[in-house]
Amino acid sequence: MIDVRTAPAPGAQVAGSLAVRSWKAPIAFTVFVVAAAILFIGLARDAPTTFRLSNPNDAIQLPELVLPAFATGIIATAIMATITVYAFLRAREARRIPLWVTTVFAIVFLVAFLTWAAAGSTLPMIGLLAGSLTVATPLIFGSLGGVISERVGVVNIAIEGQLLSGAFVAALVASITGNPFAGLAGAVLAGALVSTILASFSIKYLVDQIIVGVVLNVLVIGLTSFLFSTLMTADSATFNSPARLPRISIPLLADIPILGPILFQQSIIVYLMYIAVAAVWFALFKTRWGLRIRAVGEHPTAADTVGIKVRATRFWNVLLAGAIVGGGGAFFSLAAVGSFQKEMTNGAGYIALAAVIFGRWDPIRATLAALLFGFATNLQSTLSIVGSPVPSEFMLMLPYVVTIFAVAGLVGASRPPAATGKPYITS
């Protein structure tokens, strides 16, 4: 991937005009250090915070971790200030700031923030992280579908519609058949159906892909809400009382301290998500199929020249993307709530879209971005139970503020696949 900031070599100081210095990261760091100083030192709360690292009924019990809030805040702010100074020095030399530095910075800030916000009480870390994973699951499915679709050259704004249609059909089919797995299959088909419209309008009729995506979202919201109000409300016992997907605890793996209860005591759809992430990553970067997808999305003319059928590749892979997203939609009605509700995805598709761009069209990075959203959302609900000094609205705002900072300060201009959004027309 071409990145302007990596271009200047060491010794670029000599030719100052050539060096592209980016001050965005250090400036973003500074903002966080100031925020940390105000919160953790200015508005210090002097009480110890207890981090509980294992559930009471786990096989292996870990001791609880107790951190004094004030001291932790001071130390964390000092570490972050040091990193910021380092970042300024690196930026002056027009060199990139390594990713691990940013990661350390984020983790330190997070630990200090948790310690501060939950001062005087106990944080159930396992529940917090396991819940984050659960909340992030549909976002991850959504962003995987988005990545595939955009990599093959079709902008997928319709993630929201695909998720919602998946949720609706999953509830409907699972209620009628009494089998949640049939519901899951129905959700996959529903997502693929929405994608069929997206693909045929944008590839056959050359309609602007963003237009089709937005309209599909409205269409699915309208259709599902209409059918919910007429069909499901009239007879919810028959049409809207699906059996839930079972929660499975994987033997042995579930007993690993910390990781076990977070990763391996989950709903079955979460395990499907692990498989999907690995499969999409492997297929996209290690197989011929993935190479073709990326070729079609980057340079369709070249792909056509070597004999790849551009339109067919796009059509089938957009369908595949929709199927993945639709399956993720089943999470809402079959795992999270246990019935379909009007507009129950509530903008998750748009968050998934943000995760795709945030993750720079890479399945693993997009997954991490979705996990970040999941964590922030779940952190808010955990802290509101524990009781935190921050008004709940600001906690709810946090993931979105962090995203803006991350996108503006750290990610910067992201480069989508070159041909995404452009129809392929042969004359």
Partner: protein
Amino acid sequence: MTSTDQTTAGAAAAPETPAPPRQNQILKEIFGGSAMISFLAIILALIFGGLLIVLTDPVVQQTSAYFFSRPGDTFVAIAEAVGGAYAALFRGSVFNYLRADEFGAAIRPLTESLTNATPLIAAGLGVALAFRVGLFNIGGRGQILIAAAAAGYVGAYVPMPPVIHLIVALVVGLIGGALWGGLVGLLKARTGAHEVIVTIMLNYIAFYLISFLLRTPGALQAPGQSNPRSGPMLETAVFPKIAGEEYNLNIGFILVIVATIYVWYLLNRSAMGFQFRAVGENPHAARVAGINVERTYITVMVIAGALVGLAGVQQALGNFTGGIAAGLDAGIGFDAITVALLGRSKPIGVFFAGILFGALKAGAVTMQAAEGIPVDIVLVVQSFIVLFIAAPPLVRALFRLPTPDPLFHWRKPQLARKAEVTK
């Protein structure tokens, strides 16, 4: 190169094919042109909506159970379900013929449609303007909320003399929307942050910010109240009604007409608008031509934010005069995207698209009350309209319409004639 009709070209394969008679071309233009496509798209969308009504109508379901013994019953039930629904839609949006004896009451639905259309047009203009510069403004919700909160604060808590109060509240609201939109442009221009992400995130931030302010005494919450709602707008800040007290239509509609003309002037007659369109066509080429692309992004988002903000002000000072709440955007920010798409991002188109969607919205309420059909059907009809209008080849194929000649002009200009000669 003229794209001659396939059939005539095939019939006479001679090198000198005579041009088809002009009236053939005119008919082709009428039947295959964009006006016809728009009309048929609306008809098709209503047919799909009718299909949905029929499929979920209980009477139709009952009669279809004995369809093969008495098929007539089913058809009567279908006709009644669809006819009743669309009659109610018409009664609720254009003319209430049940009250035809009293003209004032019969015409009331039309004014309701225009009232509903007002914020849709304003927000649609904001989205459309950003589209023309190549920016996708999904941030309508946030811009509406911030503008409404700013205008609402002035309108409810800052007493001022009559006319001045209204103007100040309006301007403060527009500034609120402009700042919230401008922030997107600034981030895009300075850091390259993708505007889709930023607008989505700012929607949520605005929503939670307003929710917080609405439950904080001293900020927006009405004194001595416990629910998250502001105090009522002061009499001096409320948008005056323009069609008499019994109708809800207010001065906001006039403002929206002015805004439409302004956007038309901006895009088609001003130097700034030329820069906007140049950046929208190709930012790289625009940069080479000496246009400051970054500044264009900021400027257009400020203007777009103010236009969407006008919708928020209309909601605060016109529709929610009893006090604003966090749900006052009522989905307008997202509806505006469909309005802009249907209007093809052109100001006049957005104006009429807004009126159409406003009418559907007003009619849907009557349809739900009279026939028990959920209002959500309007979303389905709206999205079908936009889908079909966006895909003229599909509509032409469905109705077997001719494809109009791209070189056709209603008034035969010199250039077109020359093109024929030099063939």
